[in-house]
Structure formats: C-alpha cells, structure tokens
C-alpha cells in the first residue's frame, strides 16, 4: 500500500467532484487537493451524460420560490426542504459562475442572454442548456479548469473503502485502487468528499455510465453513515431498447413526448389512455414509466420486449430539426425515429435516496462530506428533469467550501492501519482463485432480480424474494474467482463493482419493503395510495441496526400550502 | 514557382523528350537571355523549396535538435553549392554553341558516373515502390490492418512527400548534367542521350507524374485552406480529382517517352 497525504480527498470527477475540487482550491490554493476518479477524470460521471439541462431561476419573472415549489411538489413532499432550498437559491449564482469563471457557453436567446427551455413539472421555462449536450460542455470546461490549478489527479483509481481514524469517529482517508497497476494507495486526508455517483446499474435497463455501481452508497454504509429514501429510484420512461447492446437504457429525451409523440404497446394501442386519459403521453415520468412497465409485464409488449415510441406522425422534417441528437442515436442502431416507431423501455435513471447530509454536505461522520447523487433528500420521491446537474454543481461547490472550513478545524490524523489492511485483504481475495464464480454472471442475475422485483411496481412477496436472491448472490460473490494479475484486471474490478451493487441493491429493496405506501417513484401494488398521515417520513438505514423513520421537516412548505398557495417561508 | 515548373515541364516533356535536349537544343534556347533568367530563377526557387522540404522531413524523422540543425546546415550548404554550379552553367555558357571541347571534356568518366547515379536513383525508386506494394498486398491478403493507409489524407500527404523527395534527388543530378554543357558539351550530349535508356523510362514517367502531383497538390492545399470549413470537407474528393489529373496529364508525356509523337 502506497501512502498518500493530502488535505482534501475528492472521490469522483463528475459535476460534484470537480466543482468541489475547484471551489476548495480557489478558496485556499495552499491546500493539497487530490481528485480520484474511477474512470478518466471528466469522462467518468453522469454529469457528462446530461442531455436536457440545468434548472435555475434566472428570469426576473421566475423566482427561487417558484423553483422550490416545483421541486417539492415534484418530490411529493419527501424532500429535505433545507437541501431543496439550498439547491434553488444557489443555482442562479452557480450558472453565472459557470459562464463567467469556468467558461461554459450555454445556448442564447436572440438578444444574447442565456436561453432557458421548458421541462416537465415546471411552472416556468428555467432549464439552461447547451443543445442536447449540456453535460459535455459543463464537465469539459470544469476539466479544463483543473489544468489551471495545482490539483493532483488520480485517474482510473477507484475508492475501495473509507478509512476511519484510530478511535473510529472520524473519516481520515480512503483505500484507493489504481486500475492500471493494480496497486493500492492509502490516502490520508483531513476531509474526504464522497461524490462517486449513483447506482442504477443494479437494473437490467439503466441510463448511466457503466461504472455507476453504487460504490459511494456501499462505502458510506460500511463506514457507518445514515442513508435515507433508498427506495426512491427514478425510472425514465423512454430508454432506447437496442437489442443486446449495452446502449439499451440510454435515455431518449422527454421532449419527444412533450412534442406529441405517442407510446404504443405490442398491439399498436396508445395504452396511456388506460392509465392517464387526461394527460396521455405527457403525464409525469413516474406515471408513464409505470404504465409502460405494466404493459410489458402483462404481456402486451413488443416482440423485442418493450413498447414503442412513435414520432412519425409529427413529420420527419420536424423530428430531424428538433431532435437531431436523438435521431442520430436511433439511426446508429438502425431505427428511423423520424419515420418509424422506435422500441423503448423504462430505464433506471437516478437514485433520489442516498447519504443523509446537512446543507453543508456534512454527514454523521466527522471529516466526511457527501455531494451529488451519493447524497439523499434533495429531490424527495421524484426528481425533476434539470435538477440533477443543478444538484451536483450546487452541492459540489458547497462541499468544496465546507471542506476548506473543516480543514482549518480538523487536525491531520493517521488512518487506522488495521482497518486499511483488512479492506485491502478483502478486496484481493478473488485474485487468482481458480474455478470461482464468474462476477459478470452474478451481475446479470442481480440486474434481472432487481428489474423484476424491485422495479417500477413492487409488492411484499416480490421484495422478500429479491432479498433472498440478494443473499444468495452475496454468497456466490464470496466465491468469485478472477485472473491472478492485478494490473488492468476488469474481472476483478467487476467483483468490486458487484460488492457495491449488492449493498446498494439490498438498501433499495429493504427500504422499498419498509415503505408501505406508494409515493413518487415508489409504487407498491399492495399499497397503491399515498399516505401523508403515516408516511411523510424518511426511511433511514445504517449498518448494524434495523431501518427506522424520521419525519420530514416541512419547514418551508406543506402539502396544504400547495393546495392554497402562499409565499414560501424563506 | 508553380507556373515556372509547369512551363518547364511542358517544354521538356510535352513539346520534346529529354533525350532530344541535346547541346544544340540548349544552345538555341540559351541564345535568348530571357530563358537564362527563367532557368536560373527556377533553379533558385526549386532549391529553396527543396531545403524547406528537407527541413520538414528532418523535423519529422529526427529527434535531437543538434542532428536536425546539422541536417539543415548540410541541406543549405548543398543548396548553395548546387545553386552556384547551376547559375554558373546558365550564365557562363557562351551564347553560341560552344565549339571547343570544353575544360572538362578530358574527364570521360563523368557521363558514366551521372548515368550510374541515375540508374541508382531509378533502382532505389523501383525497389521502394515494389517493397511498399508488396507489404501492403501482404497485409491486405492476411486481413491485417494497414496502419493509417485507410485514410485518403494519409495517401495525399505521403505521395506529396515521396514526390518532393524524388524531384529533389533528380534535380541535383540534373544540375550536374546541365553543368556539363558549358564545360564539356560532348559529354553533356552523351549523358542526355542516355535518358532514352528503357530502364530509366519508368522513372522519368514517374518524375513527370511527381512534378505534376507535387505542384497540383500544393495548389489544392492552398485552395482548401482558403475555403476554410468547406475546404476541409473537400479534402478527400479533391484528392481523387488530383490523382485523376495527375494520371491523365502524365499519359501524353509517357507516350512520348515511349516514342509516340503528336
């Protein structure tokens, strides 16, 4: 184990990780900052995949107040309102900073000001974007800024575990694994910022990058953090169904349905008429995704196993002009979006749950900050399109600022060597074990279990069955065997991925079983109604104890306020 | 310079064949001072361009700054020597066809050495082409990738380089043989007559094609660069046009080398 000492260790290089590193550096350039990323810096991370854009109330006719209402109503009041308020009130400032100091260039209105487009569930057009490649522009420019600063970058270096100090109450570093060399690094830091992204890869069909395997949740859980609302997994209704290709699950943008595209089942029926006759295909993400899923599960899917998105009646010219990126992506796998229906499937998209944080990204463990998708509570039971990258950037910046303050307060402390040694040993176990389980097979089974039983519609027997299956898969993973050489060993990495996936999957299934109501993205066949009297609570989980609930603090807005509109209590 | 080159090429290969450019031909031509200036200028420009080319190739092929500087210095020195020789030949020759045998005419081995050099250049050219073609064919036959040769731009660039190098090599020999003219017209005639040797004909044809290609490619690149985005989009199609032009324009000259006369 190679030792490494720094002041701030940032795990993850998406929007949250990069914003944290840049903000911390700019606040105090003397600090030694290290960014470790599972993939290449700036390439790994879901901020890059953002198509739609970034919600911020910039227009004088819009306000943080309205943005807040939309966010909390969209989240069905399960949001942590302090976090949601931080999001909406700081988003405009972050947009300005991205443009004026980072060099991001967003699309313009004819008069030259930043253009904002309409997105689902919003009372005002407030989504800042750059074409349908918003994420690439934001992350590429943040990446460029790293080159202007003395920030050490550890690429293709995953974190294996967070490491405590000797007494154990504080996180003082992490055990890292360098993919290319297979060598471990024991990084010691005053403050660790966890921003590794979510874990929708536990499902057969999912939208994010392939390396999003819930590592952050798993590490935080093992380290002793509280995780909340893990049952809240958003499914996007229109993931591309691309045969056996891993491209399957990649999102086809919501704007297509907004523009009037139809959803058809295997019999050619516009099935949304049965689920939401008023709004049809323009219903919210959770409703449309669930309807598609039920059609497929009840045998009315297409031969390919999905439903169809049909934009042909909108006119080929219109489709090609307004959705060139989507048309290109479809054409790549032989579909003609402008002229023929395209097979689509609901796809696991975003985990609203995550580590419990305060508005400064602090956790119950001193020295550990969490930002981005790893954190829970901002979006409640359902995330609005355009709030994801906003969350990453706002809370990334907050974590960076908080880390600088903490560095002044926290003395350097040595990581617990025996803990690091144990983590190191556990990670190396499968190397060179002959005749062991194939980790890729374990992943495949897990994905199908989660898809069938912890997917868009859940019930008690299914969730219990899923937990049994997860137990069995954990046993199988214990026996995994991979080639001996640790250098650039993808099979070994897969074992570590599966370890995280199984932990995140269990957290998701346990919380889903616990919440006996339906709310937002969480739908229970056996408890189909929303129940504010009993379930306006966060489901908490922590290692070594049973799940428990804590009430949602309705500090600014209550469900009643929405029925009778009044000002938000800022 | 391109204009001078093309005029020169036309006169020597379309209006005549090289083996016919005897001392009588040269005398008739250099009777007009304008042609002397023309030839001197052409030589100056061609050698200068050659130095630039050598400089570019040295930068690509050699790593050390000292080696590069040494190559640049050698190229410049060689250029000065050859330029001096050439200019001397062009302007020292008496207006009328020299009657005397010339100062160098006692050195009867000179034509042999020059022709030998030409044969060596030709042999090297043939071998390089054959080896490249064989290598490519071998890899294609085995289904192995052929490096960057799948890109049109790669061919355009490589052919330009190869053509430039070939032209430069010939130019140096050519300066030597023309330099014989004022000092040993008889030896000059013997040298020039050897151009009809069948072994050299493919190289001469290649040389004509190389000059055409190199000149037209230069024009093509300047045009494309001037056209900005439209230009970069035209890179591949314009390369195909360039190849067709080069081949079709070379054909009459090749026919003449083979004995055909209009």
């Amino acid at each position: 184990m190679e030792p490494l000492r720094c002041d701030i260790l940032v795990l993850g290089s998406g929007g949250a990780g990069l914003m944290a590193a840049l903000h911390a550096y700019d606040a105090d350039p003397r600090l030694k900052i290290v960014v470790a990323s599972k993939g290449l810096i700036g390439k790994s991370g879901c901020t890059r995949l953002v198509q739609g854009g970034f919600n911020a109330a910039l227009d004088p006719r819009d306000s943080a107040d309205l943005h807040f209402r939309d966010t909390v109503a969209g989240g069905q009041f399960l949001n942590d309102q302090d976090l949601a308020w931080a999001l909406v009130s700081e988003a405009p400032e972050i947009i300005r900073r991205l443009e004026t100091t980072i060099g991001v260039f967003f699309d313009r209105q004819p008069d030259g000001r930043i253009h904002q487009k309409a997105f689902a569930g919003q009372s005002f057009d407030r989504t800042v974007h750059r074409g349908d490649l918003t994420g690439i522009e934001i992350v590429s420019r943040l990446h460029d800024q790293l080159f202007a600063r003395e920030i050490r970058l550890l690429e293709e270096t995953r974190a294996v575990d967070l490491i405590h100090d000797r007494p154990g109450g504080r996180i003082v570093g992490a055990l890292l694994l360098r993919h290319a060399t297979g060598e471990f690094v024991l990084a010691q830091a005053r403050v660790v910022i966890l921003a590794t992204g979510g874990g929708p890869r536990m499902y057969t069909f999912s939208a994010p990058s392939l390396e999003k395997t819930g590592d952050g949740y798993a590490m935080a859980y093992r380290a002793g953090c509280d995780l909340i609302d893990m049952e809240m997994m958003q499914f996007h209704p229109t993931g591309l169904l691309a045969g056996a290709s891993r491209l399957s699950g990649m999102v086809l943008e919501e704007g297509l349905r907004g523009a009037g595209a139809h959803l058809l089942n295997g019999r050619g029926e516009r099935f949304m008429a049965r689920y939401d006759p008023a709004r049809m295909e323009r219903a919210t993400r959770d409703v449309v995704a669930r309807a598609s899923y039920l059609e497929i599960m009840e045998g009315r899917g297409t031969p390919a196993g999905g439903v169809q998105l049909d934009a042909s009646h909108l006119g080929a010219e219109f489709v090609l002009e307004n959705f060139p990126g989507m048309a290109r992506r479809c054409a790549e796998v032989g579909y003609d979006l402008a002229r023929r229906p395209v097979d689509v499937i609901p796809t696991a998209h975003f985990h609203m749950g995550g580590v419990r944080i305060d508005p400064s990204c602090g956790t119950r463990l001193a020295g550990l900050l969490v930002a981005g998708e790893d954190a829970g509570g901002v979006h409640g039971a359902n995330r609005l399109g355009g709030n994801g990258v906003a969350e990453s950037c706002v809370f990334g910046a907050r974590a960076g600022a908080a880390a600088v303050r903490l560095c002044a307060a926290l003395p350097a402390a040595a990581p617990d060597a025996s803990e690091a040694q144990a983590a190191h040993h556990a990670a190396r176990v499968p190397l060179g074990r002959g005749g062991g389980e194939n980790p890729f097979a374990v992943r495949d089974v897990l994905q199908s279990v989660m898809w069938r039983h912890v997917g868009l519609v859940r019930d008690d027997p299914g969730l219990r069955r899923a937990l049994d299956e997860i137990d069995a898969l954990e046993d199988r993973l214990e026996r995994a065997g991979v080639p001996a050489g640790p250098r650039a060993n993808l099979a070994w990495q897969q074992v570590l991925d599966c370890r995280s996936l199984l932990t995140a999957a269990r957290l998701t299934a346990v919380a889903a079983l616990y919440r006996r109501e339906s709310r937002g993205s969480h739908a229970r066949r056996d408890f189909p109604a929303r129940d504010d009297a009993r379930w306006l609570v966060h489901v908490h989980q922590a290692a070594g104890r049973e799940p428990w609930t804590e009430p949602v603090r309705l500090s600014r807005l209550t469900p009643r306020d929405v029925e009778a509109p009044g000002p938000v209590r800022a | 310079m391109v204009a001078l080159v093309l005029v020169h090429l036309f006169l020597m290969h379309y209006a005549a064949v090289p083996s016919a450019t005897t001392s009588g031909f040269v005398a008739a031509r250099w009777a007009a001072p304008g042609w002397r200036v023309f030839d001197g200028l052409l030589l100056l420009l061609a050698l200068t361009h050659g130095i630039v080319g050598v400089h570019g190739m040295a930068r690509d092929a050699l790593r050390g700054p000292r080696v590069r500087a040494a190559v640049d210095a050698a190229a410049a020195t060689a250029a000065v020597v050859f330029l001096g020789l050439g200019i001397a030949a062009v302007f020292a020759a008496s207006p009328a066809q020299p009657r005397s045998a010339g100062a160098l005419s006692v050195y009867g081995w000179i034509p042999g050495a020059l022709i030998g050099t030409l044969i060596a250049v030709a042999t090297a050219t043939y071998l390089v082409i054959a080896a490249a073609a064989a290598g490519l064919a071998w890899r294609l036959a085995r289904g192995d990738p052929i490096g960057r040769w799948t890109y049109a731009g790669q061919w355009a660039f490589a052919l330009n380089r190869a053509a430039g190098a070939g032209i430069l090599a010939f130019l140096l020999v050519h300066v030597l043989d023309v330099a014989l003219y004022p000092f040993a017209p008889a030896l000059y005639d013997r040298t020039v007559a050897a151009y009809a040797m069948p072994y050299l004909v493919p190289m001469e044809a290649g040389l004509i094609a190389a000059v055409l290609y190199h000149a037209l490619d230069g024009l093509r690149l300047m045009t494309l660069e001037a056209l900005d985005r439209r230009g970069t989009a035209l890179a591949a199609p314009s390369f195909v046009v360039l190849l067709m032009l080069t081949v079709s324009l070379s054909l009459p000259a090749l026919a003449m080398l083979l004995g055909w006369r209009p």
């Binding site: 060099g103 045969g243 | 690509d60």
Partner: protein, 234 residues
C-alpha cells in the same frame, strides 16, 4: 463471428500479438459489446476502457480495421470482416486495448486549455454572463469546435503526431483555437504565442485524418488553419 484483438502486456510480453475470438453475434451489437462478450464469456484477462457506452465520454476510442472509432458507436455489423481491433496509436499501451492517455493530455494541458475570466468575476461575486446574440459571427466556428470529447482519435490518426513528438496534435490545437477565439476570454496574446511555436500549428501538414475520424464532427484542421492564418486577433 471472428474478432481479432491486438493483445499486448508490456510487463509480460516482448511484443504484441493477434488473438482471434469467436464472438456470438447479437442484435445491434457494437464493437464495445463484442469486447464485453469476449471479456465475460471467453477471456477475463482482456483489458479495454469504457464508460458511458453512448458516444458521449470518449473513453473507448480504438482502432477498428485500421480506422479510429469509438467502439461503442460502431456496430459490428457495419464493420467488414475480418474485424480487427487495436489500441490507439502514438500512445503507450498499458495493456491490450488500454492506452495511457498521459501524453495526449500533457499536450492538451500545454496549450492552457482553460478559459480565463474577468479579474472581477474571479475575485468577487460572479458577473452576469456576457450577452452574446444567437448567431453571433464570433461564435460561428467556435460553437462547433467546443464539442470535443477528448477521445484521442485524432491524435492517434495524425501521422505528424506519430513522427514528431513535440507536435501538440489536433485536439490540443483545436482547444487552443476554441478558447482563443472566445471573445469572453481574457488571457491575452499569450495564447497565440504558445501555439505558433515549435510543435504548434506550423508543424501540421494538413493531412486531414483528424477531420475524417472525429466521432463528434469537430474539425481540428480548420482550427489549426485559422490559427495559422492569423484569423484570431488578440
């Protein structure tokens, strides 16, 4: 379907070798999917790089049948058999198809690729973003050139990079143009000095392979030509 992969482990092998795998063709399989198929069913020692699998991150650039491509965006059915897959060129191989992009990013870094804002925006609270009208001529070329995903395909395809180690390469020079031509940038004339030195825009031979291979339609040659012609004023 046979897929031949260039295998090389610098720590164990003296040179690379071709290894042929029989891949079960599946509907809409990409070259990346084929590599995963090999990894998961046949040979767990194979190494390659991936991330988004949707043509957005630029992690899986490699050489397929002699041409640079993103493995995730190239359908196996569109590649002529026999399919051969090699790592990017002009970069050190870590293992098999996994290359060290270090030299590529070192050169990217060397052009100071980062935007420099107004001193005021850096010091105090951020200024309002500049008003730049849609269709502003200053953005006409820049807007298309900022979409680079730094995959390294152009760097690998460039023959000048292959023979001239100090040549900065298409991606870095493209970025240099994009940020130098950004009217909001305040870095001054230093940007142009950096790219007109040795290894800069004058080392380019206008081969144009970079334009052919760019998976996102960026035109690095155009950026280089504009810098060379002095089209950017500082």
């Amino acid at each position: 379907m046979i897929v031949r992969v260039r295998r090389f482990d610098p720590a164990a092998d003296r040179g690379g070798r071709w290894q042929a795998y029989e891949v079960e063709p599946r509907p809409m399989m990409s070259v990346l999917d084929a590599l995963f198929w090999i990894l998961e069913h046949d040979d767990p020692t194979l190494a390659f790089r991936y991330s988004c699998r949707a043509g957005m991150c630029g992690s899986c650039a490699m050489v397929v049948n002699g041409r640079e491509a993103l493995a995730c965006a190239l359908r196996l059915a569109d590649v002529r058999a026999p399919v051969s897959v090699e790592p990017l060129r002009s970069l050190p191989v870590v293992k098999d198809l996994l290359v060290d992009l270090g030299p590529f990013f070192d050169k990217y870094r060397a052009v100071d690729p980062f935007y420099v804002g107004d001193a005021a925006s850096l010091a105090g609270p951020a200024l309002e973003p500049a008003a730049v009208p849609r269709g502003d001529p200053s953005r006409e070329v820049v807007d298309r050139q900022i979409d680079c995903i730094s995959c390294g395909a152009c760097y690998s395809a460039c023959p000048v990079v292959a023979v001239t180690p100090e040549f900065l390469g298409p991606a870095a020079l493209n970025r240099a143009y994009a940020v130098a031509a950004d009217t909001r940038d305040r870095a001054g004339a230093a940007r142009l000095r950096r790219v007109t030195r040795d290894g800069g825009v004058h080392a380019c031979h206008s081969v144009g392979n970079c334009v052919t291979v760019c998976p996102v339609g960026v035109n690095p040659l155009l950026s280089i030509q504009l810098l060379r012609k002095g089209a950017v004023h500082r």
